[in-house]
Amino acid sequence: MITDMRKNMIKRIGCLALLMSSCFAAMAQTPVTPASVDRLKMESLWLRHTNNVAGAILDNPWHYALTDFEYQIEKGEFKRVQSGNDNNSFRFNTEGGGIYEALGGAYAWGEFHYDRSVLRGTKFNASLADPLRGMPYIIADPNPSKWINQNYSMQVKLASPLIWEQLILAVGATYENGIAAKQVDPRPKVLLSELSVNPAVVWTKGRHAVGADFVYLSHREDGAATNSNNRVPQMGWEMLFPGYFMEGEISSFGSITGLRNFNANGLGGGLQYGYEGPKFKIVASGKYRQTTENVTNSYTTPKRIGTTNKKEWTATAGAQFLINDRNSLFADYEYYNRNIDGIEYIQIFNPEFEVQEWIVYGKYIKSNYSTVNHNFGLDYMIWEEGCSDFSWKFGVNAQAQKLSDVYYLPESTQEVNNLLVKAYVKKNFVFGKRSSLLLTLEGFMNKNTDAEHNYGGYYESNVAYTQFALLDFYYLSSSYNGFTLDATYTISNIDRKQRTGVYVGASLNYVNPMSYKDYFDKRSTLLVKVGLAF
């Protein structure tokens, strides 16, 4: 019943998003191609660097809409342990919006994504649709497993026109709904939903603007790992931290009950400043978000398995230098700090008939996961005068990342420092008035600059340590290089009103590990897509 309601809701919201995309497309004034949308997003500094939807009015984006189908094949062993090694995905994406004159210059934008993925060869996850999202309190099993995941996500951004020539009010919202089913015992069917609401305001005076936004997030996810064949015992682990766990049999009679119920709430906000001159514009923002997620193992008599308390700080600055009418230089920097405390509980079940619940006697921060990123990028864009797309685009990007994880007692630490450098070139070949070919070549290299792993736990020879925690450390501390080659061919004005274009594209990504070659092999991803731009 609930599933039917959920499907109906998804259909309605999906139709609404599609309708919005179509409406906005009808208002588009310029031919839309993937290259022109790329340029539009590059020049929309408020939308690119902040969560403040009201800033869209200052970016003043023109209308566009893209709708495409994608099919992706991903193979290779260079992966996180919990990821698949032979994956297929089918996706449907649509997005569109812009300044909407019928609303007096208000901004409206929407997107909808559907993703159906088949993952093969995943390990050590019997709880989560996405085991890499920063939640350690899961049930892990050693069986190489196939997962079939379906995900629907949608987002809406609405901003008022300038009120009294200096105030903009806006709201953004996202909704995500997914189902993920493991196909090997112990097999959970995980249901998830996520909702976020993001009201925002911008006050502008002359060339200056300041803004503020607030965000509320709710994430729910639950699934129970059960066995279709009860005659084969399924051993697993109640994970607390990589290398720290309780081993047991996953069954209703076993020491590990298969259910995990995740309930997260987040609050946050940000402040922004923007300046726009004739040749230069800049947006700087700082934001903070705290997300607390409780994990329990029962709906009726919940035992607190753990809590994560995530605090994220982000500082961003992005600038555009308009060198002349055909050239622009973009520079951006982002500092990101994520700190997750892992809280464990000391609790006893009170079996008295009138009580029958888990009593919490104490709670302690037992672990911490820290991520600090510095990201710096430079992009140079060249376009033909009077065109909405670009002809050339070059860029370099460097990201220094520091991962520090600790389990306090008995102490284990892990620290990984990586420097990832990317360089790309994009060339948009235009053939006549109707067709164009966008070629992208990107090369990247990750250099591990430092890595240290000290294990002080009790299970040094257990596979949940050697094949999970340790192997994951090897992956995270690997140096690697690779490239991405992307080609998208577009034919514009295929309809009578000359507003619609069709595009087809293909992309190949290849990653080659340069360390721990005994454990990892290359990984490649091929993606093909076909879509409409209007």
Binding site: E247, E249, F253, T307, Q356, Y458
Partner: protein, 427 residues
């Protein structure tokens, strides 16, 4: 007006969400970083009734100083050892958590050798506990019951059944590990409650005190008038759910038709008419199909109440049965702690040790074949042999240490002998 109501509703909803969200975050922010704590615990040897609040007078004839205490955190897989010091107090530095406190050791006195084993399960340690705290609070006391090292014990239990779903071959072997003849007449053999290991332990009324009893689901009694069934050192008797050649029904099973007794519950279509029935003297809600104990692992004990005539009418007296607090009227046999001669806790798997259900004085540990219907049994480890070749088994009252897992069950393993009066001699 409608707009105002709608707006108000949205604001109220948002306020509620934000309030619950902030409360959840505040609770998380209140958590402190973990650090080592030092806890103290008092270890008393008691021989009398222990009231519900745990305040019992220690028996001065049994000193606990020098006993080893093991603080085990099953969730983390950690354990910390310490030794009982002056004033019967043990102190240990450990990480906060839920612990099982296990005491083990033995003393020899002119009356004989006594095991001083005991355990407190599910003890939450969250802060430092000083010896002064212990002196003023009986909550931090573990009362262990000296148990005379007995001669008769479970030497092998086959409980898990065999594929496909065959469970009629459950078999129990009781052995004389001592130096003197033991008379089985009147010995009681009980299946304890709860039937399956669980963290959801039953609550018993306060009047029963703390760990003064174990509670039987079913109690069987060896027949005999007093000295009819002697069990000499090195001899064993076999008790079966159904004593037949089970390989006829299931080739993967085994033949236990030579068992001395059968625990027959009244099913005329089952059983071996040539094998004597062992009568049950307590079973609140008998299953007339068969006496099936959990293939996941039940808990058993053998006991003898010396100062009472134990028969069916004994268990009908209100002071000798108990019900769990709650709506259930199911009665359980109250078996006095000092009457227990041996006990074994069988677990779903060894990782379920945190789900132990019977007190440490019956079995300080637990054992398991790990899964169901695999045709394996558990039996005691041999630590020596008598001159006649019969085994001497390990008996530390901790089945985690004392038992091993066998690939298949055996009748009178390790050279155990058949009693002279046994029907097995004629088969």
């Amino acid at each position: 007006m409608k707009k105002i109501i709608l707006l108000s509703a949205v604001v109220c909803l948002f306020s509620c969400l934000a309030t619950s969200c902030i409360k959840m975050m505040q609770e998380a922010n209140e958590a402190e970083k973990v650090h080592m704590i030092t806890v103290s615990y008092k270890v008393n040897a008691v021989t009398g009734f222990v009231p519900y609040n745990g305040e019992a007078e220690p028996d001065p004839t049994f000193q606990t100083k020098g006993l080893e205490v093991n603080f085990i955190n099953y969730q983390e897989g950690s354990s910390f050892k310490a030794t009982v010091g002056d004033n019967n107090i043990v102190s240990c530095s450990l990480t906060p958590g839920v612990y099982a406190v296990n005491v083990s050791g033995s003393v020899t006195s002119p009356k004989g050798t006594y095991r001083l084993n005991g355990s407190s399960l599910n003890v939450p340690f969250t802060k430092d506990i000083t010896p002064e705290d212990v002196a003023s609070n009986p909550e931090y006391t573990i009362n262990i019951r000296p148990a005379k090292v007995g001669s008769v014990l479970f030497s092998e239990i086959y409980y898990c059944g065999v594929s496909p779903y065959y469970f009629r071959d459950q078999t129990y072997t009781i052995y004389n590990n001592g130096q003197e003849v033991f008379y089985l007449d009147g010995l009681c053999f009980a299946q304890l409650h709860p039937n399956i290991a669980t963290t959801n332990l039953p609550s018993w009324p306060e009047e029963d005190g703390r760990e003064n009893f174990v509670y039987g689901l079913v109690v069987w009694q060896f027949p005999g008038s007093g000295k009819q069934y002697p069990l000499k050192p090195g001899e064993a008797v076999v008790v079966a759910q159904e004593a037949i050649n089970h390989t006829v029904n299931n080739p993967a099973s085994f033949n236990n038709s030579m068992a001395e007794w059968e625990c027959w519950s009244g099913n005329a279509l089952r059983g071996n008419p040539d094998c004597p029935d062992m009568p049950y003297i307590f079973w609140w809600s008998p299953n007339k199909m068969q006496w099936l104990t959990s293939v996941f692992g039940a808990a058993f004990c053998i006991f003898r109440i010396d100062d009472a005539v134990v028969n069916k009418s004994y268990w009908e007296q209100p002071e000798n049965w108990q019900v769990v607090i709650g709506p259930s009227s199911t009665r359980y046999a109250k078996i006095p702690a000092d009457a227990v001669l041996d006990g074994v806790e069988l677990l779903t798997s060894m990782s379920a040790l945190n789900m132990k259900r019977i007190p440490g004085f019956v079995d300080a540990g637990g054992t398991s074949v790990e899964t169901t219907y695999i045709g394996k049994s558990v039996s005691r480890k041999v630590i020596g042999k008598r001159a006649d070749g019969t085994p001497i088994y390990q008996d530390t009252n901790n089945s985690t240490n004392d038992f091993q897992v066998n690939d298949s069950p055996a009748i009178r393993r390790d050279g155990q002998k058949i009693p002279s009066w046994s029907r097995a001699n004629a088969l």
